[in-house]
Each structure stands twice: as structure tokens, then as C-alpha cells.
Amino acid sequence: MTDKKMKGSHALVAALEHEGVEVMFGFPGGVAIPFYDALYDAKNLRHVLVRHEQGAAHAADGYARATGKVGVCGSTSGPGATNLVTGIATAYLDSSPLVAITWQVRSDLIGTDAFQEADITGITLPIVKHSYLVKSTEELPRIVHEAFHIASTGRPGPVVIDIPVDVALGEVAYRDCDTIDLPGYKPTSRGHVKQIRAAAKAINEAQRPVLYLGGGVVTSDAAAEVLRLAELRRLPVTTTLMGIGGFPETHELSMGMLGMHGTVAANYAVHECDLLIAVGARFDDRVTGKLKAFAPHARFIHIDVDPAEIGKNVVPLIPIVGQARQVIGAVCKELEAMEWSREQTQPWLARIAERKDEYPLHYERPKDGKLAPQFVVKEIDRVTGHDAVVCTDVGQHQMWATQYYTYTFPRQFISSGGLGTMGFGLPASIGASIGRPDKTVIDISGDGGFQMTMQELATAVNYDVPVVVAVLNNGYLGMVRQWQDLFWNKRYSFTCVEVQPDFKALAEAFGAVGMRVTEEDEVEPALRDAIASGRPAVIDFRTSPEENVFPMVPAGSEITEMIGGTSRKKGRKP
């Protein structure tokens, strides 16, 4: 392509299209007008107008998580940019590839407290992988290319590009940029051969191995390799919240999630194992509980693309820095050449199978005659045949969504794990649905979280995005109430949502389908109708108000000190 003279605003559109961006989520404003003017003529770049910039960031993030592509959001300067902050932090803590374009006041006004000026590169400094304040129209194409490269490689993360409006108005001889000038950025992708061999040897010798999968397995598209590894040496598998979908839960080796609301089988297996193989996981406190007592009999193999994660919380025997997919693939190759007998781990697998059978996740039918939230999630699972993309907000419903839906493929479960952002679900599900129009997308939400970004229903209606919002409406900020229930003498201080809108009427007011469900036998037809409508829908499921999430490991306790998690047969503890 030869150089073509154009304005910065058009150059930005061209550069985004060159990166393969098909859709971006944004909201305009004064200094964003030149860019929006260029967008008006864009041929391949679709723009989705959200109703609040937080929604733009979460939608872009949801799109990124559902597709593996970089999500793009944009805003005007000042308040537009600060409204993106929660979304950027959410993407940062879950290592989601996001490019956030913020418009800025004119270069010569920066630093003068000009109208709608906010130092967004400063504000976002601790929550970005990298950021740029663009100085000239000339460097814009290169910066866009670098930003996409940084966001999507190594450990992915958000990159902010802050662009003063004069850069959009200036001229540049545009040419697609495919070069980067990042002498300090060379993420390791291939694991060390000696370490890979050592890992294979340790796995081959283990009597009681556990494979512990984090979000890195999903982000690096390593699910196929992980499945191969697990089957090669019959490794029982547990995932973190972020790792959900990295291993099919229908598989006999799956133990479900571990940690604070993990299964008995998973937490005890980790407690008793002699080798813990962590892949793309970071030994977060929600997973480990009391760190000193975590996996006390185990040696650790830690595979992560981010060297800083290795040794941060635990010191592994065998650290391997590299992309999960490459490393696990290489470990499998080594193992295939080694001798091994199924008998070696047979007693271990038998013990785990017994635990899974004796201590399954279970709940009782609420005595108040209201819906069990767990039942609603199970129905969603059944109606969608383990095949929907499930987004969540944060709270009890999020944990029930992890426990009672059966995940079978990567990028199927989309949730704010690291930051725990209420309000994430609806906009993320809009992004996910736009990215995966072939899938049914369900947002399992809470009555609290839904109210934080429910204005995005208008976006869903506007662009015909057929997400189904299942509000597990318990009338409480349930997860906080649960802590108050268990640890604060049931003093429900400001966790009862006393006044709620009528969610059914609200949905209808937005032009979406609205329903209310109070009876068990209405759950399935409501879900079927909502999905069949092909329109955005909100179902207000009236669930039992004081239902709690079990099992539960109190913060800071050992992960075997579980509240609940009793045997279904004898009511006894493991």
C-alpha cells in the first residue's frame, strides 16, 4: 500500500481496520467528534453505541473473552475516560486483551485543567499493561499496532491510547503499520526444555497428582493440550473460576472448581496430593485459603507466561515460564516416550471418585416455597444443553453459576474473577453475543449487580443482541448478606435491597422481553420462550432470599475447613 494523505481520525479508523477490528464499543463527546466523523464512513469497522462508558469497556472485554480477539472500547475525554476505569481494571485483573481509546483535550491545553480534562494515562497507570499519550499524528499508526501487539501477546492485558484531539485533526501520510519498536518487550513463549523434561518426569512419578488450571489455559487456547495431558497420565483436574471451561466438566477426571466455594473433592484432592501442577494459575487467596497450609504434601510445578507470577505466592520445585499451550504440548511429548502404568495412580483416582460420589454439590428445596437459585441454574444448564456462553455478575449467583452449570468448552464462562466487578454481566454478555452470534448467551445476574449497568438493555435492544438475563432475585446483596449471616451475627446492615424496580416492566420499557417466574415448573418454559424470542430478555426469578452458597471456606482458613460440604448420605464431614 502506498502512503495516503489523511487526517489522524481517518488514519485511526484505517489502523483499527488493519488490526482486524470488526466492532468497537464506545460513546462520543466533544473531543471525540473528529473520530466519530471518520467512523461515519467506516466500511469494515462497526461501532456499538453503549449507554454508559463502563458498559463499553465491559462489552469489549466480554467480546475479547468470548472470541480471543482484542476488544476495543472508546470514550471522550474527562468523564468519558474516567467511566472506563472500572472496566479497564476488570480487564487488567483477569488478563483480558483490551484496547481503550480515550480522546483527550488539545495538546496545548493538557495540564491546564481544561474543560473535560482528566489525566487518564496517570489515573490508569496501575491498572494497564501499557499506555500511550499520543504526541503526533505521525506516530498514531505505529502506536495502534504496538497497542494491539502488547494487549494480545504474553500475558494479555489492557492498553490505553490517549489521543489529544489535535492529533485527530492533523494530517499523516498513512501506511498500514506492521512494525513495532519495543526493545523492552519480549514475552517468553517457549518453556525451557530442561524444565519441561523435569516436569514430565515428576508427573510420571507422581502417585497423587492434581492438575490445577487457571485462566491462562483459556487465554492461551491450551484446552486441547491440557485434555491430552490429563488423559495421558489420568490426572484429576480442578479449575479456578477463571479456568472454568479449560477442561470439560463432563469428563470423569474433572473435580470442578477449587477454593472458597470449591467442591469437597477438589479441595481435599489438593490438600492430599503429592504433586500439584499449576497451569496459568496464580495461587490467589480465594483459591489457596491459608497459604501456609495449602497443598502441604505437594511439590509444585508452576507453568505461567508471566515470570512475575512464579515465586510470588509459592515457591515451585519446577518453574516453567512459557505459553501454556506450547509447554503442555511439549510435556505431553516427553510423557509419551516414558513408561507408566495405570496402577500407579489407581488408588488415588478411586479415592477421588468416592469423594465425588459421596460429597457432590447439593442443596435443599427452600422451605419458603420460593425458587432455589441452584435449581434455576441447573435448569438453564439443561435447557441450553451445556452449550450456552454464560456471563455473570458478582455475588452468590456467580458462585451458583460456577457450581450448577456444566461447562464443556473454553471461553464459555465469562465472569469478573480478579476484580469482582458487579455490573459486569450484562454489558459483557452483549459483547460476548456480538462476538459469538452462533451461541445462546445467558447472563446470570443478581438483583444488585443488574441494577448497576441495566441501562445497557437499551444497547441490546438497539442492536438486536439476543442476550437472556436471568436475574436470580433474592432481594439482597446476597453474598455480603451471607457473610453477615455467617460471621456478623446476622446483622444485615444495608444488604437488603428494599426498593427494587419491577424487572419485568423495566425490561418491557426498554423494548426487551420481560418475565417473572416464581414457580419451579415455569422455569423451563420461561427460558425456552426467552431464547426462542431471539430478542434481549430479562427473567426475574424470585429465589429464596436467605439461601447461602456452600461449601464455603471462610477467608484465610485452610481449604479443607469447609462450612457445608457434608455427605449427602450421612450428613458427615469428609
Partner: protein, 160 residues
Amino acid sequence: MKHTLSVLVENKPGVLTRVAGLFARRGFNIESLAVGLSEDPRLSRITIVIDGDEHPVDQVTKQLHKLINVLKIRDLDPENQVSAELLLVRVAGEGEKRTEVLQIAEIFNAKIVDVDRRQLTLRVVGTNEKLEALLELLQPLGVLEVVRTGTIALGRGRGG
């Protein structure tokens, strides 16, 4: 133990903020930090001294490495580095005290860079320990004001 990190960074706006911000966010304490251009005008070299007992140095360097503008980090071997710091100190110096200050200055190879009837300003270059020793001797005489650049350091020999 003290660790001296020699950090090569791109000479671009905002890089120092990123480095300092990282230390603040991760709760790492900086004992001293000095920054200036390196042999290559596109690059700056930052010398950071941290207390290794307080924070795992390994974590600090790994986190620093994640900054896109950071090219290279060396944890300089204390036995195998040359280091220096510049210090300016204003001391009270009337009468007998003045002679004493002058004697101390001579021992430490310090230059008198400003003087009036009541006080003297000394300029001295040396290792961190040498400057500490000087200050300790001057303290009883009346130290009025101190400013230090922070340590700068290079590995010995061919470096690398």
C-alpha cells in the same frame, strides 16, 4: 541486605512515573533512586537502592521487567560494583567549630563550595557509607541542611 538495581529504560516521557508507580503500588520501599541519560541518548539508566530484607528482590525485578519501557535490569553484585553518591551539606561553622569542619572536610576530600561568617557548605562524592560517616562526624557540629543525589552505580569490569 541492600540491593543496587541498575535499570536501563527507554528515555521517554512518563517512564520514571511508571517505575515509581510500580514501587508504590506493590508496596516496595525505595531507599534511593537516581536517573539520567545513559551512553545511548535514547536510553536512561536508573539506579535504585532497595532493602532486600524487606521485599523479595526477585519480585521487584520481575515486576519491573513487565514494564514495557524497561529494557534491562541488573542486580549489581555488592563486591563487584563501583558506586558513588554526591552530597551537599550546610553546617554551622563559627569560631572553633569552623576549624573542626575544615579538618573533617579535608579528611573526606570534601570541597567547600559556599561559605559565610556563620556556616559552610561542603560538597563530597563517595560511597553511601562514606557519606554516612561524614554526616555522623558533622552532626554534633550542627548540620543545617542536607541534600543527596542517591547512589549511582555500575558493575565492575566489562559490565554486561
